[in-house]
Symmetry: D2
Subunit: 345 residues, 4 copies
């Protein structure tokens, strides 16, 4: 059994990591930290875990913490992560970091969108943890930067097209819609039930921090610099992201071509499902699972391709992908702990 | 008192017309038709109307129906409308048609997206009922084609820019999200609570019938032909449409310029509200009202403008705008019956 | 025009008072207080009020505040209310208090369920503001204690039976379910969207503070002391309370008898609607309105009567009833400002 | 591997059986029937099952069907079940029937609440499939009558008290609230999203068909005849039932006593979880799992006990309990396929 540590266990991502790891045959949760709930059972914070996990939240000093597990999930806000991740690495531990701190290759870009970076020397080493694209490198990494939820949905939607030079990279628009769990479990008025339910809004139009991360990874795929329009919206659902992505086609391809392209690109990927022609994905069909479902449409009237992708933001967009990455860095079967079936209705 | 007739009273739009007209000081509902519920009080079909309206649903022959009111709202499916509207006009009555049958100027375009048209001779006469753009013509019309819900949200968002030649018309993308009441009150599995709640999906990508209507009206504003990408999505809310509209700027304008442009364009419009800079609209803030709220963002990174507009699809997107049109053709104050305050939370 | 003051304008009840009063022909909102949002327009706190109200939130000293209006709505937490209400009364103003502070006649009972009372001398004078039962006394009152939301739904359901000695008062059980707006707009984890949506729970079983208020008013109706079981639950909806009330029948009455009893009792009440036999009310049919809908069932198998009542907790359960009370104490038509139609769907 | 047959695979219960059985190590779904979707993959009916199950819906003649599997789940409406179940039994197969047809011991009672019974001779043999109460008998049964969803939640809540003679059986009231998936996947207006969302209602007050089933099983536990009040309500959630159960205590017991009683009664039950004192269960904490969570409150003011129980109506209330029963009759570990963790948020 591998000993896993969850740093920041009381957020929604922490709860989800606990849910998934409790189903994993080769992992035990050895330590779970939470300042706010130190001393409480995690099942008091999350009653759905009663009878599943007996773990108690602790506020452990970093010096002690490094010895308590073999692999660490840092499910903490950006800025906090950069302070603690180096300690784990220096103690020879493996880390899957769920914050944004090690996702951006270029420290200057990070510092423009976030704040000063205190652990720049690890940026080169960190591997961007999208297994469908970077499986090899992840497998030998010590530090995996687990992708953001929006980026995961957008990058997987566009990868086959960009990799094959099919679209005009100046025309990419990603219109994304996220469930409210993406906002975390902090008590703020904007996330109250009455503010969110039976409603819908856009936010941070043209200014969301996931923008540079998306552009960086898309640029690698396209092998050229690019700038996109990215608009996030808030859905009155708990879990799920749907991204509708538009791009002008550079080459003359039809619906059949694009389908074959995607089928070939993702043919060995257990966690990517393509919708039949004429069908488009829905967030409720991936709820609670690690799937990314993608629908494809070549619109001949406009010369654009329209891609629609969905994930569960807490699973493929966070905790599930983190476990997928952990499986890779620990040499396990990539699907362990993730064989759940989506919950519908 | 003007006598109003509601043809198709038992759909959501019919119920909403009843709600609004019951607040109107100069109108009485003289007849309400419904095949399915003939003989029943409308308040049995819609218990929220108990004590508000005593009207009984009837299945009235068209020959008799024409005499029962002075102005008719035809809240029936397209195809049905084109069969009955001529009878009202020929009897000298005024009509606000809420179907798509008289919205498309060119019968060939209509027939390509819908089906054969049996009342082409009235297409020229019908006025597209968007009062903010066509107030004068509506005021003297006999037949008003009440706009579609998606088109209303998109056209009002783009009008000031197109009218002033500000954007490259080849780059327009409208990503729209609608509440489920837009699907009507028919019993179909896809609209069941369990299929829709806690979920989100795209549908009819690149093929929705509102596309030609949107393109026609935008083309008039831009004074040039244009083709857009339009993607509708289904929101797990009852009421509300939010459209996120993207276009590349043709001229060098900044946030301040665009704000002034919109303020000038809509300065006398009671039902259009502009969000403060940095704020974007939310469907819940227009719930139950005739408002269209618009947020504006010039994204200098990409050279695009991003517009976000919201309406209540049953009010400004249907029954409310229909009453606004009726007020115009009957010579009433345009706001009568529509002074309700949005219901939040 | 009467000048109204809203003390505590930024809570959900304050927003709702603003919505309703803006529709009132004889009232202007002269002052709206909020510590948290002082200096901001209320329409920045509540964007749905943009274009409706230009009022600016202020943090006004009580000494100055008393002169700014003729009638005050105190929409503040209990304990705060008892500190400020006396100032208004001493300045000769009228007050509708929406807190619990003046609802309980017996200070000892209040102090057992709440905390020490600092304005006991006004308890006798305060009139319990349920117009359907206390219209006369309210009309001549200076201080109206606006009823709690749960109590309103339960008392109106039981009043005809208790007034006529029809039920065994030892057997009353009220199982109530409330929308989340009843929890207010404070930022707490338990009211977050993700905690509430797609879920349902009971809370404060047998210990909710509305219990003594309900028992007090039911006892007056029954003319005997009584103790009830009251269980509140939290619904994943914004607005609405539904109470299911059980009691054993003392007399041999059937469905027809009970219907006639309720029809007679409420025959002149505009805001109470009885459901037809076999139908039961739903919260969505009173949404946004001041109605209380009641369904009735005599269950001959068990000898019990089952009553189901619904209100909008922010309207008939708070702001709407408060305006109804203000209309009475100011000598206006009781329905002014409250003629809205429920919003469905 | 055991071959399982799902009769009626396209309803919500059928979909849920497929989800659960796909996780079962010793079972394969050998045949899935659906008239409406015959010839379609089940994953076309339920896209969440894409990549999980390749099963194709068939319309198989009963004569052929009996040979296609070893154990059958009949997830069909009552009345249909009684026609087909005998064929399976006569062919030597085992059956878990999810309809109501074999739950009522007394044919006369069944016929009073449902319709004539055509397979009375199997009523005696059928075992009521609540494993926590009838484990032994189920283990040796050929025909298990899988309990109704409401009855499961109510019987598990009351069993320890009734078994120990603690309550006055004339005073039992069960106020239950169910998610909308309980209404099935049939297309009817009352289950449309817009009719259900943001709302709440009671239905079939005092007349729901689960009443005799509940009374029958409670009577066995209490060892005396009894009559209860049972009121179902419709929640705007997909999954989940919460029952609030009231009864007057016959003996003088306090909170501590009752807790010990329940702990002893359920101490070996994996799928029953007791909430800590002062906590009450919520449907979202059992979502997607086979748990029944129970909260307990002795209310000394009224001499009543209040029990609050929650289940996922599609799992412990239907498909999960059916698999639990199948495990028993097939000699498997009772928890196989059911080790999922509740999905929250």
């Amino acid at each position: 059994m591998i000993r896993a540590g969850i740093v920041g266990a009381s957020g929604y991502t922490g709860g989800e990591l606990t849910r998934i790891l409790s189903l994993h045959p080769h992992v035990e949760i050895a330590v779970a930290t939470s300042r706010q709930y130190a001393g409480k059972k995690l099942s008091q914070v999350y009653p759905h875990l009663a009878g599943i996990s007996e773990i108690i939240c602790e506020n452990v000093d970093i010096g002690e913490l490094v010895d308590r597990a073999d692999v660490f999930f840092t499910a903490v806000p950006h800025r906090t992560a950069m302070d603690i991740v180096p300690h784990f690495l220096e103690a020879g531990k493996k880390v899957v970091d769920l914050s944004a701190d090690f996702r951006i290759d270029d420290a200057a870009v990070y510092e423009k969108w976030y704040q000063p970076h205190s652990a720049k020397k690890y940026l080169d080493e960190a591997v961007y943890g999208l297994p469908e694209l970077n499986r090899e490198r992840i497998s030998s990494a010590r530090l995996v930067a687990n992708p953001g939820c929006y980026p995961t949905s957008i990058i997987l939607a566009l990868a086959p097209l960009l990799k094959n030079g099919m679209v005009d990279t100046r025309t990419i628009i990603a219109d994304s819609k996220s469930g409210t769990s993406g906002a975390g479990r902090g008590a703020n008025v904007g996330a109250l039930f009455c503010e969110v339910t039976d409603g819908f809004r856009a936010y941070k139009v043209g200014s969301h921090r996931h923008t540079p991360e998306i552009e960086q990874e898309l640029a690698k795929l396209a092998d050229e610099d690019l700038t996109i329009s990215f608009t996030p919206h808030l859905l009155p659902i708990s879990r799920g992201i749907l991204s509708t992505v538009y791009a002008s086609l550079r080459k003359d391809i039809d619906q059949q071509d694009i389908r074959e392209l995607y089928q070939a690109f993702y043919k060995n990927e257990k966690f990517v499902r393509l919708c039949p022609d004429g069908s488009f994905p829905a967030t409720q069909y991936v709820r609670g699972s690690n799937y990314c479902d993608i629908g494809l449409k070549v619109d001949e009237r406009t010369g654009r391709v329209v891609l629609v992708s969905v994930i569960d933001n807490l699973v493929k967009g966070a905790a599930g992908q983190a476990v997928q990455n952990m499986n890779l860095i620990c040499g396990f079967d990539e699907e362990l702990g993730l064989e759940t079936v989506p919950l519908f209705p």
